[in-house]
């Protein structure tokens, strides 16, 4: 039973999720060149830039949903998808950054550097990207084994990264903050869940010995 289930995960569910995750990138890629009748509007560079950033944040939040989903449904499938989803968040962050440098700023690294040092919302976006790199590098099962407990600690960086990402979006919009607000609310719930879980665990660890002595 478990064997067939994990086989299904490996050969059916994972590939399907993989293709679905690539969807936005394929859509943008086709639209950039006006293929298949897909248009990215009058300002395709802006559309690509914004859309990649938006998907990066969505994938970050989706990744953060996996653990609560596992806890609630007691299904391991969520756990198995987590790495791939996290790597897709990284993938869209890199695309976002690449579009920004190559297309938006026409490769003028000096202008990019000026942006990074002068504009706080770009500074924190950049910081989030840099912090994601060690997480992507150590995402393999081998690295996870090698790092052991330190892996978990390293990967809890995802929480501040997600905060920086949403903050970057919030500061970057001109005036209409409704969309970043939605991201911020979802993130608050997801981080709140972690705090709640910690609190429950703490309580359990405090109460357990007492129960034991009573017995």
């Amino acid at each position: 039973m478990t064997a067939t289930r994990s086989t299904a995960t490996r050969f059916v569910i994972k590939p399907l999720v993989f293709i679905a995750c690539l969807g936005p990138a394929i859509h943008l890629g086709l639209g950039a060149f006006g293929l298949w009748g897909i248009s990215l509007g009058a300002d395709p560079v802006h559309t690509m830039l914004h859309s990649c950033g938006n998907w990066a944040l969505k994938f970050l939040l989706i990744t953060l949903c996996m653990t609560p989903l596992r806890d609630m449904t007691h299904m391991l499938i969520w756990q198995r998808l987590r790495r791939m989803l996290g790597l897709f968040a990284f993938f869209y962050v890199i695309l976002h950054f690449t579009v920004y440098i190559v297309l938006d700023q026409s490769g003028h690294l000096n202008a990019v550097w000026q942006d990074i040092v002068k504009r706080p919302y770009i500074t924190i976006g950049m910081l989030a990207l840099i912090l994601l790199i060690p997480l992507a590098v150590t995402s393999t099962a081998a690295m996870q084994r090698r790092l052991g407990r330190r892996w978990t600690r390293l990967h809890s960086l995802i929480y501040p990264i997600a905060v920086l990402g949403v903050w970057h979006y919030w500061w970057g919009v001109k005036k209409d903050i409704r969309e970043p607000l939605v991201f911020a609310c979802v993130l608050t719930v997801l981080l709140g869940y972690r705090l709640y879980r910690r609190y429950r665990r703490y309580q359990a660890s405090v109460h357990l010995p007492r129960v034991a002595t009573q017995g």
Binding site: S106, H108, R119, K175, D176
Partner: protein
């Protein structure tokens, strides 16, 4: 006018004359028919391709020679928060907007006051086509063939008094027709303003048309302002109230974020927006691999308007 200053414009970008002429011929052909409806436009039929044609002359002196952006780009990509904050929102949500019947109230420091039918506002003014650069404060730009008449000619009819130092403009406040006005993203109605000398400058255009036809709803029908040397947000749309005032008016964006948007809002590559550089701009309509273009002081209209601001610290009065 802007001899498109030394900043080189590739010859491929200039509309081939035969193309332009054939478009003119087409318009001329339609003109006989159009005259009747020209100023009394039909009120409906603001469809994207079938806005009523206008009668106008082309003002070459006040036109740049760069190729205008396509009608599609101009009419589907713009900011008009009354219809939503996405740049595709105006074209999607302004279709039911009724730009007729329309009246404009004129009051404040002037001798001739009142509420006037749009027809009465427009009647005495022959229309001109002017191809202007448009630079958005968000660092993108277009070239647009507007149809309108000098705001100064309109202002003179209301005989502003010596106390009239500024002109203030208001957009229609109509929560039913303008869904964006139900949100608190800006303080409604949208207001804008110009110093009197800016308002009287011959480049400042009261605009009623685009590409030779009645202005589409999403571009500010039936009456909007175009001030080509300023950032696009100065170009207030759907104007239904003009007021002459003594004190500098507090304008919508300046009120909303005073450190980011000033009253003057002159295009200035040397003064950055706090969150992005204004030194360059992305020109809409090219390939995704096009280089950003350098932004010109006063959007390329420095020869005409720089003298209005001589002695002013433009970093302070941005």
């Amino acid at each position: 006018m802007p001899k498109p200053s030394s900043h080189s414009i590739a010859s491929s970008e200039i509309t081939p004359e035969h193309k332009f002429l054939s478009r003119r011929a087409l318009l001329a052909g339609g003109m006989g028919l159009a005259v009747g409806q020209t100023l009394g436009f039909q009120g409906r039929a603001w469809g994207q391709d079938n806005g009523a044609p206008l009668t106008f002359t082309r003002n070459a002196e006040y036109s740049v020679t760069e190729a205008p952006n396509s009608f599609k780009d101009i009419s589907t990509y713009n900011n008009y928060y009354e219809f939503g904050t996405d740049k595709s929102d105006p074209s999607e949500h302004a279709q039911k907007f009724r730009p007729r019947p329309w009246s404009v109230t004129v009051d404040g420091e002037c001798e001739v006051k009142g509420t006037f039918d749009l027809e009465d506002i427009l009647k005495p003014h022959p229309l001109q086509e002017r191809i202007y650069r448009m630079r958005c404060v968000e660092a993108w730009s277009m070239v647009v063939p507007w149809v309108g008449f000098p705001l100064g000619d309109l202002i003179k009819r209301f005989k502003p008094t010596a106390n009239a130092k500024f002109v203030k403009f208001f957009t229609l406040l109509d929560l039913k027709q303008m869904p964006g006005e139900n949100t608190s993203v800006l303080d409604w109605p949208y207001t804008e303003g110009l110093r009197m000398d800016e308002a009287m400058h011959p480049l400042t255009l009261m605009t009623v048309g685009l590409y030779g036809k009645v202005l589409p709803n999403q571009n500010g029908a039936p009456l909007r302002l175009i001030v080509p040397w300023k950032y696009g947000f100065k170009g207030i749309k759907a104007i239904n109230h003009i007021k002459f005032v003594e004190a500098m008016p507090l304008t919508t964006w300046a009120k909303s974020a005073p450190d980011e948007y000033g009253f003057y809002a002159n295009v200035n590559p040397a003064v950055d927006h706090p969150r992005w550089s204004q030194a360059t701009e992305r020109h809409i309509g090219g390939s995704i691999f096009d280089q950003r273009r350098p932004t010109l002081p006063f959007n390329g209209y420095a020869t005409e308007v720089a003298s209005l601001y001589s002695g002013m610290n433009l970093k302070k009065f941005f």
